[in-house]
Amino acid sequence: MFTERTLQEVQEAREKWEREVGKARRQKAKKGKRFSTVSDLEIKEIYTPEDIKDLDFSKDIGYPGIFPFTRGCQPTMYRGKEWTFRMFSGMGSAEDTNKRWHHLLKEGETGLSTAFDFPTLMGYDTDSPRATGECGKCGVAIDTLRDLEILTHGIPLDSVTTSMTINPPASILWAMYLVVADKSGIGWDKIGGTIQNDMLKEFIAQKTFMLPPEPSIRLISDTIEFGTQHVPLWNPISISGYHIREAGSTAIQELAFTLADGIAYVQDIIERKKLDVDSFAPRLSFFFNSHLDFFEEVAKFRAARRMWARIMRYRFKAKNPRSWWMRFHTQTAGCSLTAQQPYNNIIRTTTEALAAVLGGTQSLHTNALDETLALPSEFAATIALRTQQILADEIGVTNTIDPLAGSYFIESLTNRMEEKAWEYIDKIDNMGGMLAAIDKGFPQMEIADAAYHYQQQIDKGEKVMVGVNKHVIEEKAPPEILRIDEEVEERQIARLQEVKKERDNRRVVQILSDLRAASKTDKNLMPYVIEAVKEYTTEQEICDVWRDVFGEYRDPGFY
């Protein structure tokens, strides 16, 4: 981007600057202090054209909406359409969550996102002994189609998109959503949304797993194939770095492991389903964390888009530009929030959200100030939504696309993120791909090392957490938090029993037996799952068939 002559002048000026102001600089800089990102990447005092001398404008930066997409995946970005304000919410019963959804939509939320409780996430019904005490605690409890009907009551499924954070039973919850659309007379070509459906990061980080890796991947390929053919506006997977980061990874690990997961899925669908890469790749979507280190995050988002474009174009030989683009949702970092002085969390979430916006996210969840204490209260969730609205409407950051491009520091950091992430991807390729790496515990241990290192830095005061290891005060009473009524569990079990009594149980038995037979073949299982949920088969009844046919994955307990 610079002529030899410019670079020569820059170098001379730098040397002069170092000579003439060097002494004062050295005296003023704090002795022994390291300057590093939250991920502990060392940062220089100043960046100049010398740091990006090899950068090629067209190849590396370019324009939004075209290869390599560094500046954004749409040509108009937020001038054409704001990012989706998508608040992750779910608590207690389907009624409770439906009420919260209507509240958030009324306040200007533009997309829905569902938090499920642990039994739902793990494929257990509320009346399972494994589920005792968990109902509605960490999200909404869904056992059958009846619950999803209540959850989506009054929601215009043809104009609002819904994201569902669900993994092993993703196909079941998606099938319920499709059946609700059917019953409301809305065609599958009119509904949009996302199922997370990313099992690799479950084994690596989030740890809601059910089946061993191989059958888990098979179920995912089934959903992606089905979506491509029947639900064209749906994102049948959200390849997620969010949980990798929450588990304690660095920004580079988040970037590298997420892309390596993406590579593994694409490879699997091509091999297993014999599909042309361009037939499904445009519907792949991603999900990242936005953590505290502002510039590191912006650089990570820009590097992620550029790397995915290169992977799809050069590694998988995709021809459709839509296969090259990376669309992603972002959530601010839950792990960056503190239980101490919880109102400070509003500020942390604001700057994290700003990094996501300057990084070009398509969709955003902002955490509520009280999330280290409980599920968000309505008051706290509304402030979190307002945070996004203020960023979108008041501060001018949506006026121009990728405003930080061309900054010596940002471009140099974007390059560094990419370079280091490629090193990880090469290492994983050499191990035989992500499944083999997970089997060895490689990403799990890399993350555990980073998490422990970070905690030690906090304990020693090398990294600051205001309210925890600096500016600590005697705490006043914490804000009023949301509590889940213990009766939610009793009511949910009563509803489940009622549904089981009313449905055609002979038909359910037949469908489950058909599902079992199909599971042993390589048939796409989505049509069977849809038939099952239509008859009010419970989530666990379906999952039990799979646990029986495929076996269960047990946590190796790496630490």
Binding site: E134, T208, R554
Partner: protein, 135 residues
């Protein structure tokens, strides 16, 4: 008596909660502090946790729960230890636990609750001060 024996700790995740960042960091801190550590992995029932504690002959069980189900799960572990006449095994807990639940948990028999923001030194120090290897 076996006074030279190291403190043995079972760190465990009861219930369906998958948030294991904290528990794995603490397992390492205990190990680095010289304790013997058993981590039984995710998704353990209270029955499995108590059986592992007895089999491994531990002095302390550290429970971690971030799902909100601590009132049921922690209580159940204490009840099962009593049923097995093993209530000399100390139990502590940590995670996302509302302050108002802490006195209730202590009344049940949980010796201490550690909340987010606690340093590793604090937790390790508490164990050194309060747990003696059982003979």
């Amino acid at each position: 008596m076996n006074s030279g024996r190291k403190i043995r700790i079972l760190v465990a995740k009861p219930g369906l909660d998958g948030h294991d960042r904290g528990v794995r960091v603490i397992a390492r801190a205990y190990r680095d502090a010289g304790f013997e550590v058993v981590y039984s992995g995710l998704h353990q029932t209270p029955e499995q946790i108590v059986a592992a504690a007895l089999q491994e002959d531990v002095d302390l069980i550290g429970l971690s729960c971030l799902s909100g189900a601590h009132m049921y799960l922690f209580k159940r572990v204490i009840e099962l230890l009593r049923e097995d006449k093993a209530d000399d095994v100390m139990v502590i807990g940590g995670g996302i636990i509302p302050e108002e639940d802490i006195p209730k948990l202590k009344k049940l028999g949980i010796k201490e609750i550690f909340l987010p923001g606690t340093t590793l030194d604090n937790i390790v120090g508490w164990v050194r001060d309060n747990v003696k290897p059982r003979c």
